[in-house]
């Protein structure tokens, strides 16, 4: 699906003239893992635009952005965890628990918007820290830790919410602000999607330009080498899980705006959807390789596929089928890229 030829004249490190086109492509993708997903996204947009006139309508683009905002935000937290060779199955549960706590406390006690939001960020951070402590102190595999906390957080969410949805009308306006829109040209854009884009840009900057970002990559790449190089890997891991928790709280805020309420049953598949976005976006599940922008593109690919296939009148089950094929293709390409020869 990404076997398009690389653009001519692209600098790829020590390009040798003797390489075959396939090997050149492998080296190009190795240097820039985001190119593959970006090409897939562009092709998908072109194809769906040809299949349906409505696809590129402003309203439809606005809809895709709204649908992607929650998963795209979660995927930022998921990406930094996967970069350390971890995984977070609990992200959706953290998000829902956080949204329920801030909405219910505000609705019942009349707590104003700003402290309610801060409370949400506190909950998200504590959940992330708990995951991080279990991973670094008890040295349990992240898969097991977050499989456990997924159930714990979801149960707490059901207990505290008493399985009841909190209506948007009972909450402070600020909690619903992420669902409000402004108009650019004739496209309505939610503040939630803007938050997501800013978050992606900010995290991409931090990963690329700070020591912390580099240490995140190094820790996922080779923990022992990182430790010998003087990186305190346990501290890096703990900070990554805590930061992810903060980001999940942000996703909770966007979720409340998106569904104009706080529902204990929301976000049940968001953990796997965020992993899907990260993997399709070219980040390696083995750690140390990938980029945040790729995860946003991955989330957009899923959103565009679901939306485009729906507009083309394809049954919803084939949308799911297509996403499955994308995941397997993305991971196969990653495996191939990793086998790059000197």
């Amino acid at each position: 699906m990404t076997t398009t030829a690389p653009p001519a004249g692209t600098p790829v490190g020590d390009e040798h003239t003797t390489r075959s086109p396939l090997s050149r492509l492998q080296h190009l993708l190795h240097a820039q893992a985001t190119i593959g997903p970006a090409v897939v996204l562009l092709i998908a947009i072109v194809v769906f635009a040809l299949l349906s006139d409505r696809f590129l309508q402003p309203n439809n683009i606005s809809l895709i952005l709204q649908q992607v905002a929650v998963v795209g935000t979660l995927a930022v937290g998921q990406t930094i965890i996967i970069l350390t060779a971890g995984i977070d199955l609990s992200c959706g549960a953290v998000m829902v628990l956080t949204s329920i706590v801030m909405a219910k406390v505000a609705a019942e006690t009349g707590l104003p918007g700003v402290p309610a939001l801060l409370l949400g960020f506190l909950i998200g951070t504590v959940c992330g820290l708990l995951n991080g402590l279990l991973v670094t102190r008890l040295r349990l595999p992240p898969f097991i830790v977050t499989l456990g906390t997924l159930n714990v957080f979801f149960a707490l969410n059901l207990w505290y919410s008493e399985s009841a949805t909190i209506r948007g009308g009972d909450m402070p306006k600020l909690l619903l602000w992420t669902g409000e829109t402004f108009t650019v040209g004739n496209t309505r854009i939610t503040y939630g999607s803007i938050i997501m884009v800013l978050l992606v840009a900010g995290m991409a900057f931090v990963l690329k330009n700070t020591s912390w970002g580099r240490h995140v990559y190094a820790t996922g790449d080779d923990p022992e080498a990182s430790r010998l190089s003087g990186i305190r890997t346990a501290r890096v891991l703990l900070s990554v899980y805590a930061t992810a928790g903060v980001i999940y709280a942000l996703a909770a805020w966007i979720l409340i705006g998106r569904i104009a309420s706080a529902s204990p049953q929301a976000g049940q598949t968001e953990n796997l959807d965020s992993i899907t976005a990260v993997v399709i976006g070219g980040t390696s599940l083995f750690g140390g390789r990938g980029a945040i922008v790729g995860s946003l593109i991955g989330a957009l690919i899923v959103g565009v596929f679901r939306n485009g296939l729906a507009l083309a009148g394809v049954d919803v089950l084939w949308q799911t089928f297509a996403v499955g094929v994308l995941i397997i293709a993305a991971v196969s390409i990653d495996q191939w890229i990793r086998k790059v020869k000197p």
């Binding site: 490190g13 020590d14 080296h27 190795h30 240097a31 330009n209 700070t210 020591s211 912390w212 580099r214 240490h215 990559y217 190094a218 790449d221 080779d222 022992e224 080498a225 990182s226 430790r227 010998l228 190089s229 003087g230 990186i231 140390g288 390789r289 790059v340 020869k341 000197p342």
Partner: protein, 254 residues
């Protein structure tokens, strides 16, 4: 007599009932290449790990420039100016050469960009990496922005050596630097070791490869049963005699 730059006195390290070091000594003189040889289980690794802060000895002391030092972590040893090239190389394969050279001690941009936005000085670090590689004559590596995993084994070793040479101010320790390399690549790494010495940095070289040891070492420390059995001059002793001392077939010369 000049003081040794790095000394170990009576180091003891036990792992349960196994005694890895039984009162080991070591002396590294300024500007020399000291090879450490020994059979498996002679305590070479434990000795080196104690010197680079990777293990804490149960007894004994380490002196740097005649002053006692104690290293709780490898970082302490690095701060004191002792750089180690581990057998595993300790490089992050997906990061580029410059990032690996500065791993764990990245430089920030001057001014607000560095202090407030914590921005790395990427161009500065790349230029410095290029300078270090050039200084060691590593011409085969042209682009410090290349990922380490795209390099050959010898080139990776060269990156690890360049890192040690760039930051080691007192001592460079190399653990089996030629073990995984072919003939030509070994040759290049041995030349690198000589260059590091010629820049004035003393080197401790741990190796199983006798021809390599005898080619570059100024003195050879023979480790046996957790102790220093002898220190010999490779110019006056034969390789087979050194091996005989190492295995206990022959007594050490006085």
């Amino acid at each position: 007599m000049t003081t040794p730059i790095l000394q170990a006195r009576g180091l003891v390290k036990r792992y349960g009932r196994v005694t890895a070091l039984a009162g080991a000594d070591l002396d590294l003189m300024p500007g020399e290449i000291l090879a450490v040889i020994g059979d498996n289980g002679a305590g070479k690794s434990s000795l080196i790990k104690a010197l680079c802060g990777a293990v804490i000895p149960d007894e004994g002391e380490i002196l740097l420039d005649g002053r006692p030092v104690s290293f709780a972590t490898p970082v302490d040893a690095r701060v004191a100016g002792i750089e180690t090239v581990h057998q595993s190389l300790a490089v992050a394969p997906s990061l580029d050469i410059a990032a690996n050279l500065f791993l764990g001690r990245e430089r920030r941009r001057p001014g607000v960009l560095g202090s407030v936005f914590r921005m790395l000085d990427r161009t500065g670090m790349r230029a410095e990496a290029k300078k270090q590689l050039d200084a060691l004559g590593i011409m085969t590596i042209q682009n410090p922005g290349q990922a380490v995993e795209t390099l050959s084994g010898g080139q990776r070793q060269a990156v690890a050596v360049a890192r040690a040479a760039a930051f080691g101010s007192r001592v460079v320790i190399m653990d089996e630097p030629t073990a995984a390399l072919g003939v030509r690549e070994s040759r290049a790494v041995l030349d690198l070791i000589l260059q590091v010495r010629d820049r004035g940095l003393p080197v401790i070289l741990i190796s199983h490869n006798m021809p390599h040891v005898f080619e570059v070492a100024d003195r050879v420390h023979i480790q046996r049963l957790g102790r220093r059995k002898a220190v010999v001059d490779p110019k006056t002793i034969s390789m087979s005699d050194a091996v005989a001392i190492m295995t206990g077939a022959k007594e050490a010369p006085e």
